[in-house]
Every structure is written in structure tokens, then in C-alpha cells.
């Protein structure tokens, strides 16, 4: 009896295992004749990617997955363990190109041979970020987040200001605000804002990668100290705010209170920070953008960047051409840049396309927008090829470090040089941990 039962339960166990196994282990798909690519994008890129999958359905199997950008590295490392599962093409933040190029991770291939020279040329300087120290191109820039000077035309007129073309003129406006219009502001400096708007355009060497093993970090360089010296009295006078531009208190006290006179910010700042009702909610017809003011003694009015996503292609992809074709659709095709419907009901790409021909298509959309006092597009276009190229993608998290080291130090005593030094110390440690030799020259 006992033996009979034993046999019965053994058979049951085997049958259950077979059933579970049968449902769990998916059959290995036969090698399809059609190329297949797996795309990972973030939520704003999803409508365009899904449209691409639909368009390409007859010729390419395109699978689109949403992913949280911060998870990419951990997941790629897990895929490296099992030697499969990598997405063919990934949209990510700009610094990912350095992280993924790291030989330990090895998940960004050189793309130079996959597109004709004319296409690369059409990016202008917009794709410089993707060039490694070896001269090869490891990513395709989706959009530029170049800084421009956003300003309130109504307040400028009321206070008798002209649009500054030099940084010294902008700071003079700040001094006048402190003296004659207390409470009015030129923006917030917390998080990455101080870098993308001031330190980076001033050529301050903070993440200046010289080779795969050497980075220059020098917060006491004259290109940095000219910024801190100019900003400090205006921070003390409360013309610049030490909080983040996204801080709820700053939004309420300054943004929504109509106290913001001008603000150097990225090209997407207008539509996604100044305009939304949940953000600064500026009034229609009052704001526009001007090109970056130039630092005294310089020849070029450089911009910095706050964001500006990239596409990287995995060296493990069996179909890199198809993967690159997707990236080019996103940066150059009218169906994505202008017509695709976004979740909030808007149409087209949300930010300034990095690819020249794609950008020309997108320009009409911005120029037709009547919200602005005048189109901000000319200012964006003027700065598109002027992002200072000394700041490079590096293997450590530069953006997280602004939040972790710079912002708390600035909030603590309002001393911007001390805060910058704290940031430099923080990233120097990070850089050394990741095998960089850190120098000040």
C-alpha cells in the first residue's frame, strides 16, 4: 500500500513538474527571417517608438519596452552574467555613453560605419558629446538641452532693462534688482542648474575627461572662480536662490509669484518648467528666450546642457543597422518629431532635436506656438552648436553628485565656492574609485 502510494505521488510530482516546466520554459523561437530588435525607451519616447514598431512591422520585428533609466546599468550587468537579454538599442541620459563604454560593462558599440558621413555631418556639433577620446562615435544624440537666457519681456520693459549680451550685463541687472526691486530673482542654482547655466558655459573644468583613465577636476580654476565671484554677492542679496529650480518652495515663492525676471536654463525649460500650471505657470505672451550672454574676454558665448538624451546600440546586437535606423527615425522623421500624439495630447518630440534636418522640421512647431512673446527658437538654434565640448561624459554619476554634494553645501551656508569645492571633492573620490587619475590641469 505504502509503495503504491509512493509511486502514485512520484508520478504526480513528475507530471506536475512536466506541466509547470512546459508552461514555464518557452520554446526557442525558430530563427526568423525578419530581423528582430528590442528597444528600451523612457515614457516620453514611447509613442514614437511604438509608432516605429507599427511602421516597421512588415520588415522588422520591433519590440518596445519601457525602462527606468537608472536601472540600465544593473540590468546590463545581470545580462552580461547570462550572456543574453541585452536590448539592441537604449534611450538614456547623456552620461550613459561613458558608463556603457566601460570595458567592464561593454554595452555601447562604435556607430561610425553604420551611417553615411553626410548623416553624421548633418548633426553639426550636436553629436560631439558622443565622440570618445579615440575619435569614434558611440551614441546618437536625441536632443540638445543647450542653455539659453529665458527672460520676462514685460518685466524687462517695466524695469527698463535691455536683453544682456554679456554676462557682466546680466549680473548688473541682478545688482539693480537687489537695489531697486528686492524680491525679484534671476533663478535658482541648486541641483544641476548652476552647472548647466553658469559653470559649464564658463568652461569650468569639472568633468573634463582627457582619456579613458584621466580626468581634470579643478574647482579653483579661474573659469570657475569668475562664476563664483560674480554670483556670490547676488546670492547674498537673494537675487539668486540656493534652492533647486524644482523646489516646491521656490516654485511657490518665486516662479508662481511672478518674481522671476530672467533665468538661464536649457532649451526645454520654457515648455516644461516655466509654462506648466503645476510649475511656474508664467503668463502667456510675456516670456521668450535670447542667446547666451558671453563671458567678458571670450570669443564664443558657450552653452552648457541640462539633459539631452542619447541612443546607444549594444555590441551584442545581431541587427545593429536596424537599431541605428530606429534611432534615426526618432531624431529625423517627421512622423515622430511633429505628428505623433503624446500622452498629454501634445504632438511631436518634446525637446530640441539634435539632428539638423530633424530640427528644421521641429522648428515650425515651436515657431507656431503663440504662447511666447516671440519665438524662442532662434535663440535655441543660435546656441545649438555652441555647447562647450570640454565637459565630457564620464563613468561616474556627475548629475547625482550635484544633488548629493553641491546643493546641500550651498543650502548650508550659501557660499557657492565652498559648495563647488565640496562637489569637486565628491566627484574626485568617485572618479578615483572608478579608476581615473584625477588632476587639476
Amino acid at each position: 500500500m505504502r509503495q503504491h502510494l509512493k509511486r502514485k505521488y512520484s508520478l504526480l510530482a513528475i507530471a506536475a513538474a512536466a506541466v509547470i516546466g512546459g508552461t514555464m520554459v518557452s520554446p526557442i523561437a525558430a530563427q526568423a527571417a525578419k530581423p528582430s530588435i528590442l528597444i528600451w525607451v523612457d515614457a516620453p519616447r514611447l509613442p514614437g517608438a511604438q509608432l516605429y514598431a507599427k511602421i516597421m512591422a512588415p520588415t522588422v520585428n520591433v519590440k518596445v519596452e519601457l525602462h527606468a533609466q537608472g536601472d540600465l546599468l544593473a540590468k546590463v550587468q545581470l545580462f552580461n552574467r547570462i550572456k543574453k537579454g541585452w536590448p539592441d538599442v537604449v534611450f538614456g541620459p547623456p552620461n550613459d555613453v561613458a558608463v556603457l563604454r566601460n570595458p567592464i560593462i561593454n554595452n555601447a558599440m562604435a556607430l561610425d560605419s553604420l551611417l553615411p558621413a553626410a548623416t553624421w555631418k548633418a548633426f553639426g556639433n550636436g553629436n560631439n558629446w558622443c565622440k570618445g577620446a579615440d575619435g569614434k562615435t558611440y551614441c546618437i544624440k536625441n536632443d540638445l538641452a543647450q542653455s539659453v537666457l529665458w527672460y520676462n519681456t514685460k518685466l524687462f520693459k517695466e524695469f527698463g532693462y535691455t536683453v544682456p549680451t554679456k554676462m557682466s550685463e546680466l549680473f548688473a541687472i541682478g545688482a539693480d534688482l537687489a537695489k531697486n526691486h528686492p524680491g525679484y530673482s534671476l533663478g535658482a542654482l541648486g541641483d544641476q542648474a548652476a552647472n548647466s547655466s553658469y559653470f559649464w558655459p564658463s568652461q569650468c573644468p569639472l568633468n573634463a575627461e582627457k582619456s579613458a583613465t584621466r580626468v581634470v577636476i579643478n574647482s579653483k580654476d579661474p573659469h570657475c572662480t569668475r562664476v563664483t565671484k560674480a554670483l556670490q554677492p547676488l546670492i547674498d542679496a537673494k537675487v539668486y536662490d540656493p534652492r533647486s529650480p524644482f523646489d516646491a518652495g521656490f516654485i511657490k515663492d518665486v516662479g508662481q509669484a511672478g518674481k522671476l525676471v530672467a533665468n538661464i536654463g536649457p532649451s526645454w525649460y520654457g515648455d516644461f518648467v516655466l509654462r506648466p500650471a503645476s510649475s511656474y505657470a508664467v503668463k502667456a505672451g510675456e516670456w521668450t528666450a535670447a542667446p547666451m550672454p558671453i563671458w567678458d574676454g571670450e570669443k564664443v558665448a558657450y552653452s552648457g546642457e541640462y539633459g539631452g538624451g542619447i541612443y546607444t546600440v549594444s555590441p551584442h546586437s545581431k541587427f545593429p543597422k536596424e537599431a541605428v535606423a530606429f534611432a534615426m527615425f526618432m531624431v529625423g522623421d517627421k512622423r515622430n518629431l511633429v505628428t505623433v500624439t503624446n500622452p498629454d495630447g501634445s504632438h511631436g518630440a518634446p525637446t530640441f532635436p539634435a539632428y539638423g534636418p530633424g530640427n528644421a522640421l521641429w522648428a515650425a512647431k515651436v515657431n507656431a506656438d503663440t504662447f511666447w512673446a516671440s519665438s524662442p527658437y532662434p535663440a535655441m538654434a543660435a546656441q545649438a552648436n555652441k555647447v562647450f565640448s570640454g565637459e565630457k561624459p564620464v563613468r561616474y554619476d556627475t548629475n547625482g553628485a550635484w544633488g548629493a554634494a553641491f546643493s546641500p553645501a550651498l543650502a548650508k551656508d550659501g557660499n557657492i565656492q565652498n559648495a563647488l569645492n565640496a562637489y569637486a571633492t565628491y566627484i574626485s573620490n568617485l572618479a578615483q574609485q572608478l579608476g581615473y587619475e584625477v588632476s587639476t590641469k
Binding site: P44, E65, A248, S278, P343, T351
Partner: protein
């Protein structure tokens, strides 16, 4: 006892009683104050979470945190959540329910079986099994990520819900709890008489132990539910596709994808702001509250099982 003794004794007793009553009153007030204090600390965030989706994004920041917006706020927030990856949140809800149900079922049964085997079966090496169970309780899941990931890949279960279900169903705490229960609440004589009647170990569990395990099963199921409904780590590792996500994983994803919480995201055309995030948080938290409220009585009974030996 004289007649005079009585009133003296009564007065003394009264004094003592009155002192006890006074002490009790103070003691009760003190205990109640503590309870109210901790209730406020734990309940206020929950009330805030439930009220937040009724407001607009600026209202969440600027209005009184415990004020109510409007009922339409919930509808707006839900509609906006639907914009995220074509309403994938609905899929996350279904996934969470399915995965958790499967895990609770498998984990409860296997833990009960394991606990029974260690306490009442006639197999060898019971002590080894018991110590192994205790050791398993000490190993944090993070330590096993890479071997488990490789193992799941070998059996073809990466990005397959069964990977999470099977791994999460390993429930050493439940097995240990069952062992304690079966050792302390069911008299060994009961097993012996059943064995004399021809029951093998499985039948003993099925016919004798299981019918007497109501409070234990409730407790096992409750802890398995709590641990797995809110589990972030396992789905994060084994389920890369967003369509396979669970609610807590999706909530983390929403957190990451909105500039309202993560300014680094910058420009986005997806209308996910604080009320939408709060509503997703409500979807994660409310089932736990409901399950807890519904199972309170059985839980207390289960927790006290075996505490008194007659």
C-alpha cells in the same frame, strides 16, 4: 474576628482599592496616550496618501496636507495614470493579484507541509532540516541575486512570472512557524493513534494536522501576502519587461519617470505628477490595510496558538 475589626478592614481595603483604581487610571491614560501618539504617527501619512489624489499637483504642495480636493481629482489622476504606457498600470494590478495569490497559495501549503514534516513525521535528519530552515531565514535575498538569476536563466524563466512566484514561495519563516505550531498545539498521541489506524505522513497532515491548522494557515497566508504584495526586489531582478511588473515595481518606475519627484527627468509629455503617484501608492497600500482589517481576529488567534499548554 470581632465586630470592631470589620470596619477597619473595610477602610483599609477601600484605600487599597482606591489606590489601585487611581494607579490604573493614570496607567491607562498613559498607555492610551502612547497608543494615540503612535496611531497618529502611523495613520496621518496614510490619510495624507488617500487624500492627495483628490487634489491637483499645485494643491498637493501648497494646500493643507490633510485637506480634501474633490472626488473628480481621483478620476483625473486615474485617467492620467492610464496615459502611462497605454494604461499598463491596469496590467500591474492584475499581475500583483495573480503573482501574490499564487505565492500565498504555494507558500502557505509548502510551509505547512515542511513544518509538519519537521515536527511530526518519521523521516531522518529532521534536526538538519530544522537548522537549514533557520539558516535560510538568516540569508538576505540580496545575497542570492546572482546565483538565482543565473539559475532562472538556465531554466528559461527570466522575464517569466514563474521565476518570481517560485522563488518567493520559498518560505522558511513559515516553515518554522508551522513547526512551532504543530509541536505545541497538536498532541503527539493524536498522530500515534492515526498511525495505528494506517495513516502515512501525508495522510496525517491532510486528515489530522490540516483541519486543525486554521489559525496557522491564516497567519502563514497573511505574512506571505504582506511580504509579497509589497515585494520590490524579486520582480525588479527577474522581470525586465514593464508589462510583467507588479504594482510596487511600477510605482518605483512612476517615481523615477516623473519630474515631479525626480527633476533629473526634465522634459516629459507624460502627465504623471504627485496626485497620480499618490493614487498608485494608494493602490499598493490599501489592499494590505483591507487584508489586515479582515484577518485581525484570526491573526490574534493564530499568534496565541500554543502559548498555553494544558
Amino acid at each position: 474576628m470581632t465586630l470592631l475589626d470589620k470596619p477597619v478592614e473595610t477602610v483599609a481595603k477601600r484605600k487599597k482599592k482606591s489606590a489601585i483604581r487611581t494607579n490604573s487610571r493614570w496607567g491607562i491614560s498613559l498607555v492610551n496616550s502612547w497608543l494615540v501618539f503612535f496611531a497618529i504617527i502611523s495613520v496621518i501619512p496614510m490619510i495624507w496618501l488617500i487624500l492627495a489624489p483628490s487634489k491637483t499637483d499645485p494643491e498637493v504642495t501648497h494646500k493643507n496636507p490633510l485637506s480634501f480636493g474633490s472626488f473628480s481629482g481621483y478620476i483625473h489622476a486615474w485617467k492620467h495614470l492610464q496615459f502611462f504606457d497605454n494604461g499598463v498600470i491596469g496590467r500591474w494590478v492584475v499581475n500583483s493579484v495573480l503573482y501574490t495569490t499564487a505565492i500565498v497559495f504555494i507558500a502557505t501549503i509548502t510551509a505547512s507541509l515542511a513544518g509538519f514534516v519537521i515536527s511530526a513525521s518519521t523521516i531522518k535528519f529532521k534536526r538538519v532540516f530544522l537548522i537549514s530552515t533557520l539558516l535560510m531565514m538568516l540569508v538576505p535575498p540580496v545575497a542570492l541575486v546572482i546565483p538565482l538569476f543565473v539559475e532562472m536563466d538556465k531554466v528559461g524563466l527570466i522575464d517569466n512570472p514563474w521565476s518570481v512566484i517560485l522563488i518567493s514561495s520559498l518560505y522558511p519563516f513559515g516553515a518554522f512557524l508551522s513547526y512551532i505550531y504543530y509541536t505545541t498545539t497538536i498532541p503527539p498521541e493524536l498522530y500515534e493513534s492515526a498511525r495505528l489506524d494506517g495513516c502515512n505522513d501525508f495522510k496525517l497532515w491532510l486528515k489530522i494536522a490540516l483541519p486543525l491548522s486554521g489559525p496557522l494557515l491564516s497567519l502563514l497566508a497573511f505574512f506571505a501576502f504582506i511580504g509579497n504584495w509589497a515585494n520590490y526586489f524579486m520582480p525588479y531582478i527577474f522581470l525586465p519587461s514593464s508589462t510583467n511588473y507588479t504594482l510596487p515595481l511600477g510605482l518605483g518606475f512612476l517615481f523615477y519617470s516623473t519630474p515631479a519627484i525626480n527633476p533629473g527627468v526634465g522634459a516629459t509629455s507624460v502627465p504623471i505628477l504627485k496626485p497620480e503617484i499618490a493614487l498608485a501608492g494608494v493602490l499598493v497600500a490599501v489592499p494590505i490595510m483591507i487584508v489586515f482589517l479582515l484577518s485581525q481576529k484570526r491573526l490574534v488567534r493564530g499568534m496565541l496558538a500554543g502559548s498555553i499548554k494544558e
